[in-house]
Symmetry: C2
Subunit: 179 residues, 2 copies
Amino acid sequence: MVSTPARPQRSDARRNQQSLLDAAGAVFVRAGIDAPVREIAREAGVGTGTIYRHFPTRADLVVAVFQHQVDSLAAVGDDVALRDWILRFADFLVTKHGLADAMASDRVGFERLHAGFVVRLEPICARLLGVEVSAGRMRDDVRPLELMRAVGNLCIGAEGDDEYDARRMIEVLLRGLTA
Amino acid sequence: MVSTPARPQRSDARRNQQSLLDAAGAVFVRAGIDAPVREIAREAGVGTGTIYRHFPTRADLVVAVFQHQVDSLAAVGDDVALRDWILRFADFLVTKHGLADAMASDRVGFERLHAGFVVRLEPICARLLGVEVSAGRMRDDVRPLELMRAVGNLCIGAEGDDEYDARRMIEVLLRGLTA
DNA sequence: ACCATAAGCGGAACGCTGTTCCGTTTTCAA
DNA sequence: TTGAAAACGGAACAGCGTTCCGCTTATGGT
């Protein structure tokens, strides 16, 4: 469905896009996922308008920044079982300075992030869950998407709150799924 | 710690405070918990400044609006067991047009809502959980606050999303807590 | 090497938010 | 009735994501 464009992207555009991805990655680590777009633009040495020439929405930039790590997580699905994979998924969400929080914050941003992350990972989760169900180790009445949503939700607000351990709650949830 | 004020509240102040509580309740139902303060003020027929004379923060107004229902929920703890009480707690969060979402949205607002709701309900949850643990029906390694946080998180984004059933995930979580 | 053209850029401007500030109005007790 | 204190209304502020548009810059044809 993607037609080859008449002309390729201009060189400065390509350079700026990469700068933005690098800058956003750095700023997200330093100031959290909810850092203002102006700060990302400044870090990249571009104007704010340039962000929106490359990414339709702030959420799309977030998705692009973590694309590689999401791909890695998808690949890990070939080597580990459901439990370990879920815990890695949780680690990813928690350690990225409020990624889970950002997903839950506003309705419209959620759609973008959901499309970028969960939809990508859902097949992997489905396969791993299928393995457990087939082996009789887990119940068959929970869909992979539900599971991922639940795990994602449990990760919210977990960073920097020593009263709440998301990992432990996820383990409890997984225990509740055993057949 | 609350000293009796030299003079009681002025009559118009008392009236406006009640108007604000009523208006906020109506607006929250109509437009969700994240409705703008200006809309609440307009509905109440007051200026925006008046809101802040009565409630230090938007989140405090939210807490005040739902205070009665939180009290009811606390009272219900005398009549039902943990499982039912948790499900009622979840119903409360889900049906209030994104209360759970609002709690997770921003860090500072969360503190207020947490103080207003969770701290109030924590003793009830603790007692009910204690009953289950003493009866040997549940594990003793989960603290009531963790449980409430987890349940609250599972409720996020549940309203109007037919792909995700928070109640079911909460039941799975509870199943994971059985001894 | 030049130049026309279109792609890309920067940042001011817009619309929205919660919150603060302050001149005006209202209440209440003396 | 009146003066002082309390409360009010809404303009103003700061910060957000996003849009817009005049200017700059890269690029393919000459």
